[in-house]
Symmetry: C2
Subunit: 249 residues, 2 copies
DNA sequence: CGGTCTGTTGAAGGATTTCAACACTCGTGG
DNA sequence: CCACGAGTGTTGAAATCCTTCAACAGACCG
């Protein structure tokens, strides 16, 4: 077993031609809430979107900016987070291709309640808030579909609240690792690699703890061979053991 | 100033005739997401709902039950909460008349992710999940309206996560008091009375702390005359002072 | 007027944060 | 090509906020 730790993550380079009209159509069609549309309706919707790219670490919009666009991740991972006055970051959600974010507000401008950052290099489609609402109004199946997604996110947020108030930091980290595993996991020769750049600070911000505590716990997990981890990457070796950590005393 | 502390809350007795067809129509019309309907459409929707009553403290449904009904609070307050294995309760939301709860799932039964309890005596309207989805599909304005509400709840849940991970217990309690004040507050001779039965344990469960800590902090607030409180009731005297607690060091 | 539910207060103990110092990785420019 | 520096990860020790355990007081109900 090589101890050499070159980053095992996929190269995040984006080929610009990813966002030609045809590929956009294909991507839009893959998005859960557009799956009910036929090709013609999809084409109509497609014309209202415009594409943009951001490289890793760059901000897409910031908390407090006036919210006008609804966006969809086409490629890469987007991090949603909030900041305290003294600069501490709280990680709200981590999005993968097919998920929406940004403004879904009623007309009359609200402001973004969180900051969106490109976690890796990303490709984004966006549409004006106003236009999207007219799509929703003409197409109730899309509205219902987005409602379902939002309801699930609400349930998940409430689950997180539950965890924050009842579980120890160790269990919270075990849980978030399993959750990320389901969403971003990719089977490799040994274990399941999380296909996104993930620092100790990101983990800490997701579980509401300090970088140091997250580091200590990850070290322990690694010693017990549940995970393997290096600079900005994590692989899970033993899901069952992590589950056991959560249920244990 | 009388130190006598008889409960200043409104008598929670429900007159049964509250739920005659006419009154139901009136109540339904007041619910935010039905306001776009004309009288005829409202009547059609109304026929699909059925009414029920629960007295304070009784369970409406429990976490894990099969979820088939969507419900709307007509009168009183409903508490949504979750429980840990060892019985600790986490308060997820506190609902007032006009708010919906229960199942909003896709067909193919899911289970309730939380327990609903009558916080006071309550009157509830309910409708089958399946039927409600057909209402949504024929009436996109309702779907959009519910989507808006759910989006707001999601934002609010995320704000709570933010608070849980960055604020001290004292600040979290100050914050929840202000939030409850906006939702359930009623101006009285002195201060603003929260129009719902609210124990120290409820406050603790909302802010993710222990009953004792909540009690200590409420005592301090009362000593500093920001609030007045007795058995199962709280009145806020000085909102600005509570805000100051949140922003302070 | 006793029992139960709710609220209060003290003291000990524990989980986590904070402060501090150091090691490692990676990209960049000399 | 190597050295440097910034970003990231690790580890120890002290400090702190909060929980837990325990005992008791007051309010409400039958």
């Amino acid at each position: 077993m090589s101890q050499k730790r070159t980053t095992p993550l996929e190269s995040p380079s984006i080929k610009k031609h990813h966002c030609t009209v045809d590929v956009r159509m294909e991507k839009l069609g893959m998005i859960p809430f557009f799956q009910s549309l036929d090709r013609e309706a999809l084409q109509q919707v497609n014309e209202k979107f415009s594409a943009s790219h951001f490289s890793a670490g760059h901000s897409i919009y910031e908390e407090g900016d006036i919210a006008t666009l609804l966006r969809v991740v086409v490629y890469g991972a987007v991090k949603l987070s909030r900041f305290t006055k003294d600069g501490k970051e709280i990680l709200v959600d981590m999005l993968k291709p097919g998920e929406y974010f940004g403004s879904l507000n009623e007309l009359g401008e609200d402001r973004y309640s969180e900051t969106a950052t490109a976690q890796s290099d990303v490709c984004i489609l966006s549409i004006g808030n106003r236009e999207f609402r007219s799509v929703l109004n003409t197409n109730s199946s899309i509205a219902v579909s987005i409602l379902d997604i939002t309801t699930k996110k609400l349930t998940s947020a409430r689950e997180q609240i539950h965890h924050l108030t009842t579980l120890s930091v160790e269990k919270r980290i075990a849980h978030i690792l399993l959750k990320l595993c389901e969403k971003f996991g990719e089977k490799k020769t040994v274990g399941i690699l999380l296909q996104l750049p993930l620092s100790r600070k990101d983990l800490a911000d997701m579980t509401g703890t300090s970088t140091e505590t997250a580091s200590r716990i990850m070290s322990r997990f690694q010693q017990e061979e549940m995970i393997t981890s290096g600079r900005l990457w994590v692989a899970i070796n033993d899901k069952d053991a992590l589950s056991a950590v959560i249920s244990g005393t």
